[in-house]
Symmetry: C2
Subunit: 398 residues, 2 copies
């Protein structure tokens, strides 16, 4: 049980100045007694814990030697380079996942969904590494693990069995990837992962880079299976570039169907991939989440995992420059992500978990546009980072 | 005359470890005498002064109250909002240009080309303000001023005469904007600015947002006039989105013509505007420069003016993730920009001006991908910023 904490003078999600109170790790009505701990927020913006809905904790090279990237531009070249790097660089999934999680906790990221590779070379070693990290950090950060067949599933004999092993070893979610262009058989790929999810009562999260009408067809197959197995609210489609490549009418009908089946869409707002119709998706009621994807890995050399900066990228990619726009993209990186990955008791209201981030900015829009770094991070009523630096020292850094 | 300075153990543009020597403000061969000042670079990356080839110093709101952006999405709505903000917020061009320049000097930006508004409401007041700043900072930063008819030129009677006044008041370059879609008469618009440039022997820098074939037509008119007046190497086209919207053959022939007339192209790599074919432009020998455009203004709420971060954005927008790619985009923000805005004696070789930035990174690619902030900035042999903080205090901050 933690001490009560009163956080004065903050603007919850950019709203009116108010005080927030956390008792026993939960937002609560303020009692008559003086709180054990008081913080003056000085007008800062208070956000609920930032939600990283899509990353690859087992692939970051943070803290390792510089990786000289000479990789070709195609997805297959990148998958090959990625597999080679795992062998040759000795990327330790346990250590690297811990490094990324600690780096992003200082930004206020307290909920992380990570895809973790499962393949016939490494088996479920990466799953085991990230499970270890997940257990170690559970008081600080919620980690969800997706068993992810990065190198293909049906095309690599034995991968599906490993996916099942991964679930038994502690993976929370069944992953999938490009049922047509990588796995070469959309129906069998989707049947396999939906069946696995159904058997173990797990949610699903599918990487879908398939372009245009091919992607739309795969989305239809996903919709059919979600409906058939009553998995509404349990399926996320990551990237879904095809939604930005269709004629408006077809786009519209697919988006309406996604909203109806409560299938969430995750976009990182990549500047070089097709832009999703973000406004249409939001207005149609599709649950939108976002993520950093891999940070500082063999795929891309950049990225810091700051989900407030991600809200800026989403706005920039979509030409959204209004204060109201930035509130929308901040929403994607908090409430949208929380709903997309199935968090409960999320938010700044009484009855929610006592997690929040204080951002030194005058308005929510300024917080998104300038992403100030000197944040205060409070987890379950305890201050875990001040001025953008983790408190408590290196005992967590595994 | 400044003291000699020896900078040991640095990697010029990411190359082999070496020492750099600056005598009397110029890179020089190292003499036998001990240098008055010695710095150990500790293996950091040395870059020549970063080049900001396109910004709007008179429009930034840095350090002012938060501007709540409720502006509509069209260019005309934004131009109107921009003009209203100048009236209502009392943006002081002298003070604001100084703030931006000092902020970006700490990143290592030592060469700035700024478009500065000229219109029938403010006249040349903004030009005068930025001229004052330019004179004040001349030992620290080179500032070039473009007389910029943001609100239109022919469509606003009297603007052309003000442009000429702006040149007489110290503007270095003749600007232009969307000859067709804003000024409604591409031939007369371009004839007017080319004639003004010819009369005063000034370079030209044109904002060209015109899309597709309309933009291509305007580019042809610009090419014809550049050829007719022998202005090769004196013309820059800013944005030039149309280059990313044409069929490959038409794109190719225009790009070859731009290279032949040595017309430079400036792109900010905006995530929401059409992407230019960066690789084709570079391979074709077109001089490529980049800039931040407006930072923290009424157009867009974000931006810090760091031209090393800009190199990252350019790579991200174009899906360039290789170390070699990042060297190319770093080149655009240094050598390309320098050539585009007509700097001489630029670079890290003997005989060049003694300007450099030390970036704490292991490779040039890491410097671009992670944009470390704790840089050392040396101008004409004198350290003007350490650890990303300006030395010398507030006497420069106007």
């Amino acid at each position: 049980m933690t001490a009560d904490i009163l956080i004065r003078n903050v603007r919850p999600f950019g709203g009116q100045l108010s005080d927030l109170y956390i008792r026993d790790g939960w937002f609560a009505e303020r009692g008559r007694q003086k709180a054990a701990v008081e913080i003056d927020g000085g007008g800062q913006i208070a956000l609920p814990g930032l939600v990283e809905a899509h990353t690859h904790l087992d692939k970051t090279l943070v803290g390792m030697d510089w990786f000289e990237n000479r990789v070709g531009p195609t997805r297959n070249e990148r998958i090959l380079a990625d597999r080679r790097a795992k062998r040759e660089l000795g990327i330790d999934a346990r250590r690297q996942s811990m490094r990324q999680i600690m780096q992003t906790l200082a930004f206020g990221v307290m909920h992380v969904r990570s895809h973790v590779d499962v393949d016939t070379e490494i088996g479920i070693a990466n799953i085991e590494g990230v499970v270890e990290t997940r257990d170690k950090v559970k008081d600080l950060v919620d980690v969800q693990i997706v068993a992810f067949p990065q190198s293909g599933m049906l095309v690599r004999e034995g991968t599906l069995a490993l996916m099942e092993e991964a679930i038994k070893a502690g993976a929370d979610i069944v992953g999938g990837i490009d049922p047509a262009s990588i796995d070469r058989d959309p129906v069998r790929h989707l049947d396999a992962i939906f069946s696995l999810a159904d058997r173990y009562q797990k949610p699903i999260d599918i990487h879908l880079h398939e372009p245009g009408d091919l992607g739309a067809f795969c989305l239809e197959l996903i919709l059919e299976r979600t409906r058939a197995l009553s998995l509404q609210g349990k399926v996320m489609v990551s990237h879904a570039y095809c939604l930005g490549m269709l004629d408006p009418q077809r786009q519209r009908s697919l988006i309406d169907a996604l909203a109806a089946e409560r299938i969430a869409v995750m976009t990182v707002g990549s500047p070089s991939a097709p832009a999703l119709p973000l406004r249409v998706l939001l207005q149609s009621g599709v649950v939108m989440a976002s993520g950093s994807d891999g940070i500082q890995g063999t795929w891309e050399p950049w990225g810091n995992g700051d989900m407030l900066e991600r809200a800026k990228y989403l706005a920039q990619r979509n030409g959204m420059t209004n204060d109201a726009d930035l509130k929308e993209t901040a929403g994607i990186c908090t409430f949208g992500g929380a709903e997309g990955i199935g968090l409960t008791h999320y938010g700044l209201l009484e009855g929610c978990r006592g997690d929040l981030v204080l951002v030194p900015a005058r308005t929510l829009a300024e917080a998104v546009a300038l992403t100030p770094q000197k944040r205060t991070v409070i987890r379950r009523g305890q201050v875990v980072a001040r001025d953008g630096m983790l408190c408590g020292g290196p005992q967590h850094i595994g």
